[in-house]
Amino acid sequence: MAPTPGEKLTNFFKRRDVIIASALGVAITALTVIIGGWWYTKWMPTALSTDMKSIERLMVIFTWISAPVCGTVVAITLYTFFNRHKGDTPPEDGPAIRTRGPIVILWSVVSSMLCLVAVVYGLIELNSAEGKAQADAPHAMIVEVTGNQWVWNFHYPAQDVTTDKLMLPINQPVEFRIISADVNHSFWPVQLGVKADANRYQVTLADTTPNKLGTIDVKCAELCGLYHAYMETTGAVTTRADFNNWVTAQGGHTA
């Protein structure tokens, strides 16, 4: 007598290989979730803006989304690896499983769902970042960033200051207008979670709001020739008072 689908499923989960592999899978998924919670943030520099904070959160959540995939793949791989055949002659033939319709469907649906979660989450983040940028635009401080082979400089039109250091007051929305004097560069103030290419004759916009005091490393993330590696400078997020003092020291005006 053929077993009912319910009995089939119960029998399936009574098999030794299924039990071991499932246990392995759950354990590895859990491990990935735990490690994923701190792994990236451990290495990434201190976030000085909400954009960088949301990138940190995104790295964690994407690791969690991938955890079941990681668990499944590693569990099956490990189980079959430890179940391997040793010797110089081929092993006995295994079961002639050509395909399993339900498994293929299940796999496709689950992986599509995980993908969908990632896509939707990414789109929401993208959308909220754009919304924030639009809301901030009217009262943003403008910083014109110019990439030159192999030096950055920054012009603050409202303050009439040009410098080689990126100084930003805390909690002030800032709009970067990025341009290149020559080849392509990529403006990367690391701790702000912002990156945008500098192109000749095309202004690229990027925006952020620094919300924590600290030092900023500004790097170039696009190979730009001889001294690409040295196309770096520093900057800082300072208090409004410190920023104003700095502007005055640079001969600018703090309207």
């Binding site: 990138i55 995939v69 081929p90 293929v104 599509s112 190979l223």
Partner: protein, 620 residues
């Protein structure tokens, strides 16, 4: 009787009149090529002022192309078409001679139309390129072992990065479809040769002419642009850039010819009874790969022609000062670039799918899912290119759509995992060297795939784009997955291609050195990227010192492992154990022919009555 002179005793040497084709070989090709190159160089010389960049670029580019043309004339590539043109087509005897019949080792140095000879030529060529690219990688990592760029100067470092990149990309594009696509694939489908044997020889020798051109970059000041050769940096670069341009144009011709040939062979020359759903999965993979390359590479060629024109005749395709745009280059490049990574990946994966059923002694799990996986990847891969341009400033409103298409690729990639895992499940894998490759692939592709997810996401890419994280990610997919697949294929088909078994112990030692070194190297690099180190930098701040030191240690392990593998291949080719006809007990057709494989592969054309995955006992 020697092994390779098998036919010498069975057939008379044709063409007693010693016609031209019997006298031409690689040597005459090089002589004519060098004559052409020198003649071009010195004929142009009085008319150019070498201190004017554009004029010097013209002279160098012309010289490089004429070398390639001269070589092809000198090796006799155009004899066939020429004879056909004047109405005196090659005789059967001459065609037999061109197939290398009865010429022993000499045929490897000739314009030989036998697909097996071309396969071996590709194998040796690819291994040489991997060796060169790997050596350059060791130099890069040595310079980065500690901060300060104490090993090489920034200009040499930039050249190392560019040459390592482009050498490896070229090698990886042909690493599976070159040797195995040419040697194994026609036998696998029961064909006597490729559809266009002369084009097959052409594709290899055209590619061969690109190698000295690429090497000349060193002596012309190097390639300072990385392999992506972004304009306008490439327009600004010194004379070494011409070598890059000429190499890509020549290479694109070779790939187009090889791609058309492989596709035509698979479409038209399958054995009787080999319907589409009985085609071995490696053949499917190789075909998808080259078919994807056919539309992809011409855009690379076009982008290089445009760069060349900007550099020689002051056109302004990429010069924003005169209305051009660097984004135009980025588009052309990545429209090639993103399909291209799957051109690299798919044949490697397909080789592993061919290997897994043999060593697990189970049918390939869901052949149809594998086909859907390849089709899905190939289809989506042409719609994702602008994810390399999220931060470029070009049309930020399209970042969302490109993010969606990019992340969708994870679904067909998931099917690839399902096929391999399904094949392993409930099996007892026979852990020979090729099978280890399947395991290494699963792990590396898992890491490469998951890290790709962060990069495909626009907000996260704000941080990760252009950092060492990207470098680590694509090394996991291209090296950890695709190269592992190709090396597993080498271990698998080595007995058929050389008649000898690959030294197992050396193979295992190499495998573990390479794979463990690989994890260490790129773990360090992921961390460096997360810490905020940009890629392609010759020097870095002290913050990144530890992760870079770790990476370099891993790189040296890979270096040792690869040298061991090279030794194993060379040694086993010469002294290895003689291989039986079918050492792994595989069911595909290439294992039904003896070594050396007869000129026309099969004495009687095979007839296929089922697919090749009929392993396993019926289920209870």
């Amino acid at each position: 009787m020697t092994t390779l002179d098998h036919h010498a005793t069975t057939r008379p040497i044709p063409n007693p009149k010693k016609s031209l084709i019997t006298k031409l070989n690689m040597g005459t090709g090089m002589v004519v090529g060098i004559i052409f190159a020198l003649a071009t160089y010195y004929l142009i010389n009085p008319h150019v002022d070498q201190s004017v960049a554009q004029e010097y670029n013209r002279q160098l580019l012309a010289t490089m192309f004429m070398w390639s043309l001269g070589f092809m004339i000198g090796i006799g590539a155009f004899i066939g078409p020429f004879r056909w043109l004047i109405g005196k087509d090659l005789t059967d005897e001459e065609n037999l001679y061109l197939a290398g019949d009865g010429q022993g080792i000499k045929r490897y140095f000739k314009y030989c139309t036998d697909h097996k000879v071309v396969g071996i030529q590709y194998l040796v060529g690819v291994m040489t390129m991997l060796g060169v690219g790997g050596t350059l990688a060791m130099m890069i990592r040595t310079n980065l072992i500690m901060p300060g760029s104490k090993f090489v100067s920034p200009i040499i470092y930039n050249s190392l990065v560019g040459l390592h990149g482009i050498t490896m990309i070229i090698a990886m594009i042909i690493v599976a479809t070159g040797p195995f696509g040419n040697y194994i694939m026609p036998i696998m489908i029961g064909a006597a040769d490729m559809a266009f044997p002369r084009l097959n020889a052409l594709s290899w020798w055209v590619l061969f002419t690109a190698i000295p051109v690429l090497c000349s970059a060193w002596f012309l000041g190097g390639i300072p642009t990385g392999w992506t050769a972004y304009a306008p940096l490439s327009v600004q670069a010194g004379p070494g850039m011409n070598a890059f341009i000429a190499t890509i144009i020549i290479f694109a011709i070779s790939t187009a010819v090889a791609g058309a040939n492989i596709t035509a062979t698979v479409v038209a020359m399958r054995a009787k009874g080999m319907s589409w759903n009985r085609v071995p999965i490696f053949v499917v993979g190789a075909t998808v790969s080259v078919a994807l390359a056919i539309p992809a590479f011409p855009t690379f060629m076009v982008s290089m022609i445009m760069t060349g024109l900007d550099r020689t005749f002051a056109t302004t395709f990429f010069d924003a000062n005169f209305g051009g745009s660097g984004w135009l280059y980025a588009h052309l490049f990545w429209i090639m670039g993103h399909p291209e990574v799957y051109v690299i990946l798919i044949p490697g994966v397909a080789a592993l799918m061919e290997i897994a059923p043999v060593f697990v002694r189970k049918p390939l799990f869901s052949y149809n899912a594998a086909i859907m996986g390849f089709a899905g990847i190939a289809g989506l891969s042409v719609l994702v290119w602008a994810h390399h341009m999220y931060m470029s400033g070009w049309m930020p409103m399209l970042n969302g759509p490109f993010m969606v298409t990019t992340e969708m690729i994870s679904v067909p990639t998931g099917l690839i995992f399902l096929v391999l895992l399904g094949t392993l499940w409930r099996g007892r894998p026979w852990m020979k060297l090729p099978m280890l490759g399947v395991y290494a692939f699963l792990w590396n592709m898992l890491v490469g795939g998951i890290t790709g997810l962060y990069l495909s996401d626009v907000p996260a890419d704000n941080y990760l784009h252009g950092s060492m994280y990207v470098t680590a990610h694509f090394h996991y997919t291209l090296m950890g997955a695709a190269l592992t697949g190709a090396l597993a294929g080498l271990a698998f088909w080595f007995p058929k291609m050389t008649g000898r078994m690959l030294n197992e112990r050396a193979g295992y030692i190499s495998f573990w050195f390479v794979q463990i070194g690989f994890q260490i190297l790129f773990l360090g690099m992921f961390i460096a990227g997360a810490e905020g180190q940009p890629r392609r930098v010759s020097d870095y701040a002290k913050t990144f010192a530890t992760s870079n030191m770790v990476s370099t240690i891993g790189a040296y392990m890979i270096g040792i492992g690869m040298i061991v593998l090279l030794w194993a291949v060379v040694h086993s080719w010469r002294f290895g154990k003689i291989a039986p006809m079918n050492p792994w007990g595989s069911k595909t057709l290439e294992w039904t022919v003896p070594y050396p494989v007869p000129l026309v592969n099969f004495d009687t054309p095979p007839v296929v009555t089922s697919d090749f995955y009929g392993y396993g006992k019926a289920e209870k």
